[in-house]
C-alpha cells in the first residue's frame, strides 16, 4: 500500500489492494478514498463523497462548546476550515421537517476530522468474512494523526481501539412521540451510490457505528432499516447479521456481539484486552434480530448478559449517566482512562440504600471478594490527585452495533439509499437512585457545582439562595466550613457572600442574599443586591480543582430579576397593566402606582393626590376647570371659562363693552344701569322727580 501525501511519497507498505475477490462493484457507495493509493489532503476529508449531506449540517466547533460554530465544512468537495488542538466537529442530522434529531460525532482533531463518516471500498485486510468495504468514522491511526507529517486514516481493518466507529447521538427530539409499538422518531443517514457503477453484483458494507442515548429517556431497544432512493423497502437493499458469512461458514458475530455495550465495562478477558469488564466479564447486549425480509434489524426488551440492567436498569440516557473516577494510567490524555470506581448502588443492593462510591467487580479474589467495595478514605484521597478525574461514564450510553448492508444493483436501488436508526422507549422511566445528588446528605464529588435559586428568573425583592457543592472544600469533617462566592449584577454591583457548610460533613454550602428593587446599582458589599427589571445576577465560584484535568475553573450561574408590581404572576416586562389599576401602562402616567394614573400638570404628583391638578394656582376645590390651567372661573356657568368666554356673565353685553363683565354693579349706590347707555323708565321717573324739586321748592313749599 502506498501512502502519498501532499508532502511527498514516503514509502511502500503492504500489498496494494487490487480488488481481489470483489472485482465488480454494484451498489458501490461513492468515495474518494483509494486504499491502494491513499492520499491525505490537508484540510480535506479522506473518504469523502459517499455521505449525502442534504439533511446534514456540519459544524467545526471548540471542544469547550459543541453547540457553537467556529468553522465550516464544504459539503461539495469535503474541504473544511483549518483545525487545531481543542477543536472538533459536530454534524447535525435533521429529519424531513427540519428538526435536528441526531448529532454525529467522531474524534476531536487531530485524531478525527469532519464530517464524521467516510466510505472505504476494497480494504482486503479485513478478516473473518467481514466485508472489504465499510461505512466508518473519519479518523486517523494512533501515531499518525492529522498533526503528523504522515497522517494515516484508519481503515475497515483497523486495530482494536483504533477509533473506527462513528457515534450517532439520538436526541430528545426522537422520543417526543412514540408509535403504537413504542418506537420514537428516526435518524436517517443517506448515502450516495456511484452512478458510474453499472454492475449488478451485490456489495457488502459493514457499518461501524454506535447509537448513543441522548434522548433523555430510558430506552430498551432499537431498530435499523435500509430504504431505497424512494424511501421504500427494496429487495435489492438488505441487511445482514453476518450469519454464516464468517470463516468456514460460521457466523461473523455471536449473539452478544450484534448490539452490545462497552467491552471494557461488560466483557470477558480476551485478546487484545487483558482485563475483564469493570462491571462484569459477561457482555451486556441486546439480542438483535433480523426480519424475515432482511430489511430490518431490531430488538426491544430487557438487556441480557452482564449486570448492566441489574445495576442501572435498562439503557440509560445521558442525563442519568453515573459518575466515575478515572485514572489516566498510561498518562496519555488522548486514550481512555481506566475506571476505578463509580457512584451508585452495588448490584443487588436495596433501592433504599444510600448511593456511594463503589469499586468494580473483583475477579482476583486474592484478598476475598472485594467486589463493589466502597473505597477507603485513603483511596478516595489518592483518586483526587493528578491523572485522576471524575467524569460521567459515557460508555453506558453507547450501544455498539454490528451489521452489514447489502447494496444491490444501482438501477434497482436508485442514486441513494437510507440507513434509518430508530430508538425504542422503555416503559419504565424510573431514574437511578443516584440521579438526584442534591438529595444526598453529602456531596461526593471533587468537581464543584454552584447554584442559585430562584432561577432562571426571580422577583425583585426576593431572597436568593446561593449554593456550592464541592467535596474538596470539606477538609475537616467535624466543622462547618465556609466558602466565599462573588455575586455580580449587570448594573455593576458586587457582593462577596460567604456560604456555610450545611453540616459538618456535607460538602454542601449555602447562604442567602437579599435583593431589593431599585432604580440603579446599589452599594458594593452592603449585604443587599439592588436590582431592577432585567438585572442579571451572576454567582461565581472558583473551583480550584475541577473537571477531568483538575484545573482551576470559575463556575458561574445566573438568574434574572423580574418585577411584578401587582403580584399577579405576570412580570412587568410582559404585563400590560403593571399596577392592575385598569389603566394600561401605555396610557398610565404612573404605571406602577395603582392609586394614580393621570398627572395633568406633569408635576410628578398624580391628580388624585395633587390639590391643584392643572397647576394654575387655583386649588381644585375652588377651580371650575381643575384640569385646565387656562381657566378657573365660569361666572355664568355655561361651561366656557371666563377667559375664553366673550360674555362672562351672559348678560348679552360682550365683555369688551361691559364695565361689569362678571355681572354685579358698578361702584356707587347709583341707580345707574351699568349695562345700558340708554335712558330707561327708572331713569326717566327719577329725572322727572328731580326736575320737579326746584319747582316744588319755589312754588309749592
Amino acid at each position: 500500500m502506498t501512502i502519498l501525501t501532499q508532502k511527498g511519497i514516503v514509502g511502500l507498505s503492504l500489498v496494494t489492494a487490487l480488488l481481489l475477490g470483489e472485482n465488480a462493484y454494484a451498489g458501490k457507495i461513492m468515495t474518494d478514498a483509494n486504499v491502494s493509493d491513499i492520499v491525505v489532503t490537508e484540510n480535506k476529508q479522506f473518504g469523502f463523497g459517499g455521505w449525502n449531506f442534504d439533511n446534514i449540517d456540519v459544524r467545526i466547533v471548540s471542544t469547550d462548546d459543541f453547540s457553537g460554530r467556529i468553522g465550516d465544512f464544504n459539503t461539495t468537495d469535503g474541504t473544511y476550515t483549518p483545525m487545531g488542538l481543542e477543536t472538533s466537529f459536530e454534524s447535525d442530522i435533521s429529519n424531513g421537517e427540519g428538526v435536528v434529531v441526531g448529532h454525529l460525532h467522531g474524534k476531536d482533531w487531530p485524531v478525527g476530522e469532519p464530517a464524521g463518516i467516510k466510505i472505504i471500498n476494497g480494504d482486503t485486510s479485513v478478516k473473518h468474512g467481514k466485508p472489504f468495504n465499510c461505512i466508518m468514522t473519519s479518523s486517523y491511526v494512533d501515531g499518525a494523526y492529522l498533526d503528523n507529517q504522515l497522517p494515516e486514516p484508519v481503515l475497515c481493518s483497523g486495530d482494536f481501539q483504533s477509533h473506527k466507529r462513528f457515534k450517532v447521538n439520538l436526541l430528545p427530539t426522537t422520543v417526543t412521540e412514540v408509535d403504537a409499538e413504542g418506537y420514537g422518531k428516526s435518524v436517517d443517514l443517506v448515502f450516495n451510490l456511484d452512478a458510474t457503477d453499472t454492475n449488478v453484483t451485490n456489495v457488502r458494507y459493514q457499518v461501524l457505528q454506535k447509537a448513543n442515548n441522548y434522548t433523555g429517556a430510558r430506552l430498551d431497544g432499537f431498530k435499523v432499516e435500509v430504504l431505497d432512493a424512494n424511501g421504500s423497502k427494496n429487495a435489492a437493499l438488505t441487511l445482514s447479521l453476518g450469519e454464516g458469512e464468517g470463516d468456514e461458514g460460521a457466523n461473523i458475530w455471536t449473539d452478544n456481539e450484534l448490539a452490545n455495550f462497552s467491552h471494557g465495562l461488560w466483557g470477558p478477558e480476551d485478546l487484545p484486552r487483558f482485563e475483564n469488564g469493570f462491571f462484569d466479564k459477561v457482555r451486556a447486549y441486546y439480542p438483535a434480530v433480523l426480519s424475515d425480509d432482511n430489511q430490518t434489524i431490531s430488538y426491544q426488551g430487557d438487556m441480557l448478559g452482564g449486570n448492566y440492567q441489574e445495576i442501572f436498569g435498562n439503557w440509560l440516557p445521558s442525563d442519568w449517566a453515573p459518575m466515575g473516577i478515572f485514572n489516566d494510567d498510561d498518562f496519555d490524555p488522548l486514550t481512555d482512562g481506566k475506571l476505578k470506581a463509580y457512584f451508585g448502588l452495588a448490584p443487588g443492593a436495596d433501592v433504599n440504600t444510600a448511593p456511594d462510591w463503589h469499586k468494580g467487580q473483583d475477579y482476583n479474589l486474592t484478598d476475598g471478594d472485594q467486589s463493589w467495595e466502597v473505597p477507603s478514605a485513603n483511596e478516595i484521597a489518592q483518586w483526587t490527585g493528578e491523572w485522576y478525574a471524575e467524569e460521567h461514564i459515557e460508555d453506558v450510553l453507547n450501544l455498539g452495533l454490528n451489521y452489514i448492508i447489502n447494496v444491490g444493483e444501482n438501477a434497482k436501488v436508485g442514486s441513494t439509499f437510507t440507513l434509518r436508526i430508530t430508538p425504542h422507549v422503555a416503559a419504565d422511566q424510573t431514574p437511578p437512585v443516584y440521579v438526584d445528588t442534591q438529595s444526598l446528605e453529602s456531596y461526593p464529588f471533587s468537581s464543584g457545582v454552584v447554584t442559585v435559586s430562584p432561577a432562571p428568573v426571580f422577583t425583585a425583592g426576593e431572597v436568593l439562595t446561593l449554593g456550592v457543592s464541592d467535596n474538596d472544600l470539606n477538609e475537616n469533617n467535624e466543622t462547618n466550613e465556609t466558602v466565599t462566592v462573588q455575586v455580580v449584577s449587570s448594573e455593576g454591583e458586587v457582593e462577596d457572600v460567604t456560604l456555610t457548610e450545611t453540616d459538618v460533613d456535607t460538602s454542601k454550602f449555602e447562604a442567602t442574599l437579599t435583593t431589593e428593587l431599585s432604580s440603579g446599582a446599589g452599594i458594593d458589599n452592603d449585604g443587599m443586591m439592588s436590582v431592577m427589571e432585567g438585572t442579571a445576577v451572576t454567582v461565581t465560584y472558583t473551583d480550584v480543582r475541577h473537571g477531568a484535568e483538575g484545573l482551576e475553573e470559575n463556575l458561574s450561574v445566573m438568574t434574572t430579576a423580574e418585577v411584578d408590581t401587582d403580584g399577579d404572576g405576570i412580570s412587568d416586562a410582559t404585563d400590560p397593566d403593571d399596577d392592575n389599576d385598569g389603566v394600561l401602562d401605555d396610557d398610565d402616567a404612573f404605571p406602577e402606582d395603582e392609586g394614580e394614573s393621570v398627572d395633568t400638570d406633569g408635576d410628578g404628583i398624580g391628580n388624585n393626590e395633587d390639590t391643584d391638578d392643572d397647576n394654575d394656582g387655583v386649588l381644585d376645590d375652588d377651580d371650575a376647570f381643575p384640569l385646565d390651567d387656562t381657566e378657573s372661573v365660569d361666572t355664568d356657568d355655561d361651561g366656557t371659562g371666563d377667559n375664553a368666554d366673550t360674555d362672562d356673565d351672559n348678560d348679552g353685553i360682550l365683555d369688551v363693552d361691559d364695565s361689569t363683565p362678571t355681572g354685579g354693579s358698578s361702584g356707587g349706590g347709583c341707580t345707574y344701569n351699568p349695562n345700558s347707555k340708554h335712558f330707561d323708565m327708572t331713569f326717566l321717573l327719577m329725572m322727572g322727580l328731580g326736575l320737579f324739586y326746584p319747582f316744588r321748592r319755589k312754588f309749592l313749599k
Binding site: G664, S665, G668, Y672, K677, M686, R697
Partner: protein, 143 residues
C-alpha cells in the same frame, strides 16, 4: 372745629369704609375699570348726573314731602322717619338694576345723605356727598 366739620368729616371718612365693605362682599364681581374710565358718558352719569338727579328726586322731592307728613314723629337714632322712608324707597329703586344685596347696602349711605338734608335743609350737601361716594367706589374697585 364745630359740629358741622365733624359731621362732614365723619361722612367723608365713612365713604371709603363703605366701599371697602362692599368690596369684601362683592369681591367676586369685577368692573371693567378701563371700559368705565374710557366711557366719558358713563363717568358723567355715574359721578355727576345720577347723583344730582337722585338727590333731587329722593332727598329733594320725596324726603321733603314725607317730612311734612311725619314731622310730628320723633327721629329714630337721629334719623327722621322721612329720611328712613326715603331711604327705603331709594333701596327699592336700586333693586331695578342691581342685586338685592347691593341694593340693600345702599340704605346706609342713603340715610347719611338724608341726614344732611334734614340738618341743613339743603340739597347741596347730599349731592356732593353722593358724588363723593360714587367717586370713592370708582377708585377702590378691584378689577
Amino acid at each position: 372745629m364745630n359740629n358741622i366739620h365733624i359731621q362732614y368729616g365723619a361722612a367723608i371718612i365713612a365713604a371709603p369704609l363703605f366701599v371697602l365693605f362692599y368690596i369684601s362682599l362683592f369681591q367676586d364681581q369685577s368692573v371693567n375699570l378701563e371700559v368705565l374710565l374710557s366711557d366719558k358718558k358713563a363717568l358723567f352719569f355715574l359721578l355727576i348726573f345720577y347723583p344730582v338727579i337722585e338727590e333731587l328726586a329722593f332727598r329733594g322731592v320725596i324726603q321733603e314731602y314725607l317730612a311734612t307728613k311725619t314731622k310730628q314723629y320723633s327721629p329714630l337714632f337721629y334719623f327722621s322717619l322721612a329720611n328712613i322712608f326715603t331711604s327705603v324707597l331709594f333701596v327699592l329703586m336700586h333693586f331695578v338694576h342691581h342685586s338685592p344685596l347691593w341694593a340693600l347696602l345702599v340704605f346706609v349711605p342713603s340715610l347719611i345723605f338724608g341726614y344732611f338734608k334734614d340738618q341743613y335743609d339743603r340739597i347741596f350737601p347730599s349731592i356732593m356727598l353722593h358724588m363723593f361716594y360714587n367717586l370713592c367706589s370708582l377708585f377702590l374697585i378691584v378689577q
